[in-house]
């Protein structure tokens, strides 16, 4: 599944602005962006790619139990994340590292999850409502819908004040569209006209299963049957990702009901570090998408606008420093105290938890020394 006539693209793979009927609606949103905002898009994409590469290395070196690469999906994530507002809630799947960083989560917290020192890593309430990663595919789309329903009940959306009206943005993949929970999320969102944007990153693979096994029709059409308008964009075009997400979020904020964006992108790396894509896909497919890389086309675009070598050179240094800092801090992450097993299983006291925690402490103490 590649680009079609319906795919909204603002920046071509060659790095030039696309003037078309489909793009005309969105180009003014791009023209309104400052040079600094455009540089920021690029900066985030480059830094997170370097981070992702570093994390992949850390996993190979035995420092992480697993890594989930975001390689190739930077534009879909960075553009849409910058289209959100502070009052919005974001429910990621588990590959949305760029969005996490943009919403204020230190990516080291993602590392913690995959190093095995936490199941969470951050408090969404203190990180611009960027919620925790959810590993059960598609489950979080219902939580996102519920939070959106709560906004409606609270009257914090659809009031005609776009600066304060809220929306919920949830990310999931092509594989997730086959999960019942995603269909149920569509049903509930449509029934209650919940202010939620379903952002589908179609990276073409659910581990080893191609998108054609999930759906024989383009996925942006899937939600139409539920009464949720869908639109397909070039997910490797950070400008389309930003502008189309921005426009849809504004519609949702204004009380327009749920929407779906299908961002066509490609998982350039493995599903996770445990995967072996050479067993199920062709190098030529990967090469096809390498030609449509989100970062190189945006660099071409920025250079065409007059951005000089210095910016790109400085950014390389910044990204390398960031990755190095992550590496250093990863190596200092320690195994949590054993009592953590029992912490926060419940939010109120629970006799079984309390007695087992005490038992473990006594057991460890029985060996003497510092347990």
């Amino acid at each position: 599944m590649s680009y079609t006539a319906a795919t909204v693209q603002l920046l071509s793979p060659e790095g030039t602005i696309v003037e078309s009927d489909a793009s005309a609606e969105y180009l003014p949103l791009i023209e309104a962006l400052s040079d600094e905002q455009l540089r920021e898009f690029h900066r985030q994409m480059v830094v997170i790619r370097k981070f992702d590469n570093e994390a992949t290395n850390l996993q190979r070196q035995g420092q992480l139990g697993l890594w989930v690469p975001s390689l190739g999906q930077e534009a879909a994530q960075v553009g849409s994340a910058y289209a959100s507002k502070p009052q919005d809630h974001i429910f990621p799947a588990y590959r949305e590292h760029a969005i996490a960083r943009i919403r204020g989560v230190d990516p080291l917290n993602i590392i913690k999850l995959l190093r095995g020192t936490t199941h969470g890593g951050w408090n969404p309430a203190e990180h611009n409502n960027f919620h925790l990663y959810t590993l059960v595919i598609g489950s979080h789309t219902l939580h996102a819908t519920g939070v959106a329903m709560a906004m409606t009940l609270d009257g914090t959306t659809g009031t005609g004040h776009p600066e304060t009206d809220g929306a919920v943005l949830t990310y999931f993949g092509d594989g997730a569209t086959s999960q019942g929970d995603v269909s149920e999320a569509f049903v509930f969102a449509a029934s209650y006209q919940a202010p939620v944007l379903f952002f589908l990153q179609n990276n073409h693979w659910a581990i080893s299963v191609p998108v054609a096994t999930q759906s024989r029709t383009p996925l942006y059409l899937r939600s139409e049957g539920f009464g949720i308008p869908g639109i397909q964009i070039d997910g490797n075009d950070v400008l389309a990702s930003y502008a189309v997400t921005f426009a849809n979020l504004e519609t949702i904020r204004a009380g327009g009901g749920p929407r779906l964006i299908e961002a066509l992108t490609y998982r350039m790396g493995a599903h996770t570090s445990s995967d072996d894509p050479t067993k199920y896909r062709l190098d030529s497919d990967v090469e096809y998408w390498r030609q449509r890389d989100p970062i190189s086309r945006f660099e071409t675009y920025l250079r065409s606008r007059g951005e000089g070598d210095a910016f790109f050179a400085d950014l390389e240094v910044e990204a390398a420093d960031f990755a190095e800092d992550i590496r250093k801090r990863t190596l200092t992450l320690e195994t949590p105290p054993t009592g953590k097993i029992f912490d926060h299983v419940y939010s109120e006291p629970h006799p079984v938890i309390d007695s087992q925690k005490q038992w473990l402490a006594d057991y460890e103490a029985s060996f003497g020394g510092d347990a």
């Binding site: 519920g146 939070v147 049903v187 912490d343 419940y346 939010s347």
Partner: protein
């Protein structure tokens, strides 16, 4: 129901639950009800009758027919500061929501390292004795008791139903609220002035000296019936209503066994890997030297709940309980 919630009144459990839900909704504007057919119809058991008319469709939501969707959006609503009370229509229909309950609802507080509370109540009408078709008479509580992060309770009387539903809603942890549907209609006295016991507490409801019978939900009335019959034959039986299945308040159970030396645990649920098994094992560990006989279990058979014409054979009755009593007393 027009009754003021003061003093005492005799009413069926379904009405007591309705009154308890109403009280909870009056006390806290964040309490929401959601489920299938709970609005104008008042639920298939009429537990929510009149509540949508009183509180509006935003607080008493007729949901789409999707259990995972109900639980999953309830989680989101709780994240948004609400206290959703979900009605699952029948015990056997909870399984489409099983994933959201066990992988999300039960674990999210832990995943958030205590920075998120999920005050979600899931009401589950459960158990047999109503002559219904497949999936409508089951007792699935063990699946949930096995899951850390959930609390499970089950009232056996209208009084407990009135209070326990309010206490469950007030809990900041997820609570599975199992309602014994065969007990929806028999009337009992509700004291609106005091619950008489904390949510997670076991209650001795009949004093006796020779053997202890223990159960929850609809089984409690069977145990009382068995105790009555045994008393006529000169055997003194103590009856315990555990009320809370997770956590279980063991102190009154151990105290009772230390007194009587014998315990029979009864449930409608199949016995294999059950709450009954758990209690039998724990009592054996904690009261071994007090026991004069092995802890015996009287449970539903380890077979699918049968067609309704066979339910009275499948479900433990007073005779089957007394058969176990006789075996225990024979040691």
């Amino acid at each position: 129901m027009s009754t003021e919630s003061t003093g005492t009144e005799t009413m069926p459990m379904a009405k007591a639950l309705n009154a308890g839900l109403r009280k909870a909704m009056q006390d806290d504007a964040k309490v929401l009800l959601m489920g299938e057919d709970i609005g104008p119809l008042g639920g298939v058991f009429r537990v929510t009758e009149g509540l949508q008319a009183e509180f509006g469709a935003q607080r008493v939501m007729d949901t789409p027919l999707a259990e995972s969707g109900i639980i999953g959006t309830a989680i989101g609503l709780a994240m948004g500061g609400y206290r959703p009370v979900c009605e699952i229509q029948f015990d056997g229909f909870i399984f489409p929501g099983f994933d959201q309950i066990t992988t999300q609802l039960a674990k999210l507080t832990n995943r958030h390292e205590g920075q998120l509370q999920l005050p979600v109540v899931i009401r589950v009408p459960y158990g047999g004795h109503i002559g219904a078709v497949e999936h409508h008479q089951e007792s699935p509580e063990a699946y949930f008791a096995h899951t850390p992060g959930l609390r499970l309770v089950s009232p056996s009387t209208p009084h407990d139903a009135y209070w326990m539903i309010q206490e469950a809603i007030a809990s900041n942890d997820p609570v599975m609220f199992f309602e014994p549907k065969s007990r929806y209609w028999p009337k009992g006295e509700v004291d609106f002035t005091s619950s008489g016991a904390p949510l997670h507490s076991t209650r001795v409801i009949r004093e006796g000296s020779e053997i202890t019978l223990l159960g929850h939900g609809a089984m409690v009335s069977v145990l009382l019936q068995a105790a009555e019959i045994a008393a006529e034959e000169g055997t003194s039986i103590e009856v315990i209503d555990i009320r809370s299945l997770s956590p279980i308040d063991y102190a009154p159970i151990i105290a009772s066994v230390q007194k009587t030396g014998r315990l029979v645990v009864a449930s409608e649920a199949p016995g294999f890997v059950s709450v009954s098994s758990e209690i039998a094992a724990t009592v054996t560990e904690r009261a071994f030297y007090s026991l004069e006989a092995p802890v015996l279990r009287v449970t539903g058979f380890d077979a699918p709940f049968p067609p309704a014409k066979l339910e009275t054979v499948y479900l433990p009755d007073a005779d089957r309980v007394l058969e176990a009593v006789d075996r225990a007393l024979a040691y």
